[in-house]
Amino acid sequence: MSTARNVSRISPRSVVVWTAVALVGAVGWAMLALARGEEVSAAWMVAAALGSYAIGYRFYSRFIAQRVLRVDKHRATPAERLDNGIDFHPTDRRVLLGHHFAAIAGAGPLVGPVLAAQMGYLPGTIWIVAGVILAGAVQDMVTLFFSMRRDGKSLGQMAREEIGPVGGAAALLAVFAIMIILLAVLALVVVNALAESPWGTFSIGMTVPIALFMGFYLRVLRPGRVTEVSLIGIALLLLALVSGRWVAESSWAGAFTLEPGTLVIWLLVYSFIASILPVWTLLAPRDYLSTFMKIGTIGLLAVGVVITVPTLKMDGITDFAGVGDGPVFAGSLFPFVFITIACGALSGFHALISSGTTPKMIQKETQVRMIGYGSMLMESFVAIMAMVAACIIDPGLYFSMNAPAGVIGDTVQSASEAVRSFGYSISPEQLAAAAKAVEEQTLLSRTGGAPTLAIGVSEIFSQVVGGAGMKAFWYHFAIMFEALFILTALDAGTRVGRFMLQDMLGNVHRSFRRVSWWPGLLFSSAVVVALWGYFLWVGVHEPLGGINQLFPLFGIANQLLAAVALAVCTTLLVKSGRLKWAWVTGVPLVWDAVVTLTASWQKVFSTDPKVGFFQQRADYQEAIEQGKVIAPAKNMDDMHTVVTNSTVDGVLSALFAILVVVVLVDAGRTCVRAARHPREATLHEAPYVPSQLTAPAGLFATAEEKSELAAASAGGGGTPDGGGPGGGSGAHRPGGGDG
């Protein structure tokens, strides 16, 4: 059998096809890299990305699956062994791919690339594509594999069991701290997108009653009818979107025109109440809505990019890449591009999903390649499209939207002048016209990535549907799409943070362990909301620009989690006798550790006040003592704010770095011991049980797999299990053998 496969693997047709794919990718990269001073078509970026993904998936992921992990199609997965018809059940691989993708892809891959575009499209694009193939997708796939071998244990549990209690505790603390920063940054993105925008605020506000109605429908009227209620919900959502324009033009506009500070209060109140309400009222229905919107919009964007083939107006590499004094975020290309773009290239958060729900549902071990590696490639492509959207808009507009108000001022004239000092040009009239085209009062300093992405999306979509007249609609559509799932994340993330806090407080007072204990629940929710609320408040009132200050922290935190996940994976590779393959996760781990620790080092110790938090603190403190005010601060209050914020941010950067080092040292210790005494290494793997299921490994069943499926269904007389009406390439299990 395997020789037949080996022969077919090097068939001339396969050689021709894969050479062609490699050529498409190579030509794409060449066009992107060699273009100087002329505008490049986004089609080349898409070609470079897709060509590289195809090669990475076909060769590298196959190598990892077969040689490194040695996935075994004869070994039963937890879904098969522990099948309870609820959370453990063998799920069709195509359905699980959708599930997993919807779970990993959120606002992250849409925001990071937009911010990284300040250094030009090239550095970010190279990192997104190379990072996902060699690091991000590898992390997701290997974590999924090891968690699957452990009945779906979480990353924290694996760290504790396989590395040790110290590394485990540091990992747990890291997850909690990261969750807080993540929620604050996501909330800040929403605040910056909705501030002074009655259209956006009204339509997002309407999602609350819509979700409540959907929740009531699913709980009381027609339980479980998710599809129909989601269709009703989407129709209502579009209605809310259209009526947002009427509201913005009516006398009610004032009620929905909110300042950033007011929006913060609303968001905090909303998140606190939502997180203590039952799941069915808001969270579950919002989840359905945002999943449909997410998959739909991303699909539309991919189609739109392919149809319109826009040209990239941003430079390949801007001057900010070398000097590191960019207005969007400070710091040089290395390490800060690799910090700014986390999701889409390498995201530690995915390890939480890959070691959560997905491993409990996977049908066949062989499918970790398609689900783990494949989904991450899809997310990476989302990041590429975000990069396209950010780079097709006029660079002058891009910098006016993404530089903090402290740098460009708050009039179109001052912004136009500031942009000229960056080396780009946009007239005050053009800036005013751009805001008018999307019916916003202003586009200046709309930092956070969402508004920039929305401008790019409206540019692309309006060329396909509706023309220039629809720009405002598509802009607010894109804003709503992002805000919708960020609000869901705020609710869900607060719950997860609360759950972790309750668990930790349970060591102090036992009642906290009971998750439904009302005082404990209220207290823990309030603490979690207050923690991220603090950073959100600080971010909104930060004279130096909240995104500018906080986004690097978020990136460092996310990459730190990736270091934890890669350390767990590498430890497991070593402990399970795969020492010679440890480089597969070891090299990404070293790279990630170097990037994260360099970034943390610079954030703590750099003598450039734009980069180093403590230098910033010292400069402002000194000025306060001399009674001076340093721009962009406007008065002494601002000066004190800067001092407090940079102290907190600096301490946090140092804390993150210390946590990574603790996990790395502990993992290194375990690896060395396992390498020296391989026999003594204890693995916590679930025992081998032969599998009764037959299912294809990839998206399409191979000829060999089709005959296996036919033999299985004929031999066992079994019923198709989750194969869908298509039959053919689903899974088959024998009759009722495994009682």
Partner: protein, 72 residues
């Protein structure tokens, strides 16, 4: 002939999409659960009604919010 074949293909595609959406949203969770119980505990095994089942499902998520958590 081709018209009928085309309609057949369209019908099959429609059925596939319906199946996929029901699976993706877990709308089929109840049927799957009932089939599971019947297969393992006999055709007469007692199963909760759909309303009861859906309530238990959301309550389980309440108890451990990490289930079904989504990412950034």
């Amino acid at each position: 002939m081709t018209g009928r074949a085309g309609a057949g293909a369209l019908l099959r595609a429609g059925r596939w999409v319906r199946w996929y959406v029901r699976e993706l949203t877990d709308e089929s969770a109840y049927e799957r659960y009932v089939a599971h119980v019947r297969a393992h505990r006999g055709p007469d095994a007692a199963v909760p009604g759909r309303r009861e089942f859906e309530r238990r499902r959301t309550d389980a998520r309440e108890a451990d919010p990490r289930e079904g958590f989504r990412c950034c």
